[in-house]
Amino acid sequence: MTDVLTVRSPVAVQARPAGFLVDLISVAQRAVRQIPREPASVVPALIVPIFFYVLNIGALSKVTGAAAHIDFKSFELPVAVVFAVTGVSRASSLVTDIQNGYFDRLTITPVRRLPLLLGLMMADLALVMALAVPVLLVGLGLGVHFRTGVPGMVLFVVLSGIWGLVFTGLPYAIALKTGNPGAVNASFVLFFPITFLSTTFVPKSALEGWLRTVATYNPMTYILFGLRALVSEPWSVATATAVGDAVLAVGAFGLVSISLALLALRGRVRRP
């Protein structure tokens, strides 16, 4: 520790609100910086979907593919990408911030409240799109052919990424509402019904009974249908319609999940 201190300021500084955009970028940059420093939270999100993609193709391709008359590699690629992008978020880090007081430190600054959440979501969007790419490349390596070409691939990644983004609304809502890491981890349970009570392994026409009914109301059904159209169908009105339905499904889900997250944010930053 220095004995003689110099705290006289050569640069007169005046604290002032930084503005929404600076707040947003600052929070997002911090979140992006954290990602490679916590590889344990990212690596499984990449390896597990690729593992199951390859496994499912090996185990089910002949049975399901032949029965439903589909190219199972192409059929399952959207599932693998959805696995990769769903549930990946900075919600656990947010809970850590809440618990160790760093969130309070941020709220004592002039930062606007919305960027505290949206900044994290921006980082999530970048991450899930980055996660979608290697899964896509594995699919291409295994022989999947995109009939919509490169534009279709780009749209495929973007749509998957936006789905991953809107899903984060749920863990963020739980994180902000509870401040409890256990509850945030448990939010991953939501992933299973949303993902599996759908056309994950077979087309909707092959589903029967209650599962068909549930799948009809599950937005994942429409997201997978739209993504599959981008892989297996050429550009057409039907493809555009399928993609449009997928966008609507993502939007409807996002309306609910992001609203919940924003409400939870409002509750968290409202001074008790």
Partner: protein, 334 residues
């Protein structure tokens, strides 16, 4: 004369049925170091959290830098720096990244950020560790970085909530030096909560003593200590017949006698002159005295007189800082 930096009017905060802070009135001048002294759970941190806009008062009002903390928290935030009780840091950032982010959120331009980061680093002296991730820091380094983050925007008013709790004596002394330098060189108003007597004694221009949510005394450390007399004779006893207290109270020059557990605190104008009569009186009344110590009053004596209990966790601090002065001691009974 400058407007007060901090004013509270009957400010209070309730959690359920429990009033953590119950009607505190304060006026703290600009440039003053105000020590807020009290044991754990007395309400110190709750008051700080209200003043730095993290908690809304249940009753009363608080003004910081002239702005109402309830009505204009956004204006208050621009004027204050805060280091809360536990160093609130993001372990996965480097120290430099954390400071830069903090500066950005206060709207500082790039050149201002670079200058301020360099400046606060000379203040808190973290060295090359500033470019390491914070999870590699020691507790003392985290505290200093926390202080640096609180100072990055050159605030008018600094809230330090128990800034030295858990620090080793060397780190504690370093924080004290920093606090004094901030006041002298920058004119920063510092609101400092502490449970360490000697910290309040050493640093604060004025001290407020809080107990169970109430401000029970306020004044300069010397003025507060004068309220309990000039000298204190502390007798540690193993047996204390009821007649012993009356015998000591009856002695000439004895102002007050407070008994707590195995300690008898005898307040006297001239402690040296009263030592022998007190020893004889105790011995004569059948008390078994293990030790007899003469010292000048401390803020703990003030607290004891006002609340009937000692401040918690101060024994180690007292011994490390040696704040008890003039302590000729006689061991054993006379």
């Amino acid at each position: 004369m400058d407007s007060p930096a901090i004013v509270t009017e009957d400010i209070a905060r309730r959690f359920g049925d429990y009033w953590a802070v119950d009607g505190v009135d304060l006026t703290i001048a600009a440039g003053e170091i105000y020590g807020f002294l009290g044991p754990n759970g007395a309400g110190k941190s709750t008051l700080v959290r209200m003043l730095c806009t993290l908690l809304r008062p249940t009753r009363g009002r608080g003004f910081v830098a002239g702005h109402d903390v309830a009505r204009h928290p956004e204006l208050v935030r621009l004027q204050i720096g805060v280091a809360l009780q536990d160093a609130a840091l993001d372990d996965r950032q480097t120290g430099r990244e954390l400071l830069d982010l903090q500066a950005r959120l206060y709207g500082l331009r790039r050149d201002e950020r670079l200058a301020r980061v360099a400046q606060v680093l000379t203040l808190v002296d973290i060295g090359t560790a500033i470019d390491r991730q914070i999870h590699t820091y020691s507790g003392g380094m985290k505290r200093r970085l926390d202080l640096a983050a609180a100072l990055i925007h050159d605030p008018q008013i600094l809230f330090l909530d128990e800034p030295t709790t858990g620090l080793d004596p060397e780190s504690r002394a370093a924080v004290w030096t920093e606090v004094r330098a901030l006041q002298r060189q920058r004119g920063t108003t510092i609101f400092l909560t502490t449970q360490y007597l000697e910290e309040a004694d050493e640093l604060a221009d004025r001290v407020g003593i809080i107990s169970s949510g109430h401000l029970v005394a306020e004044g300069t450390p010397d003025a507060l200590k004068r309220t309990v007399g000039t000298d204190v004779i502390v007798a540690t006893v193993t047996e204390l017949p009821s007649t012993a207290l009356d015998a000591v109270r009856a002695l000439a020059g004895v102002e007050d006698v407070v008994c707590r557990h195995d300690e008898l605190m005898v307040h006297a104008d001239d402690g040296a002159a009263a030592m022998s009569p007190v020893a004889l009186a105790l011995h004569g009344s059948g008390a078994t005295v293990k030790s007899l110590t003469l010292r000048t009053p401390t803020l703990d004596d003030v607290f004891l007189q006002l609340t009937g209990s000692h401040l918690q966790g101060d024994a180690a601090a007292l011994s490390s800082a040696g704040s008890s002065t003039g302590t000729p001691s006689t061991g054993g009974s006379p």
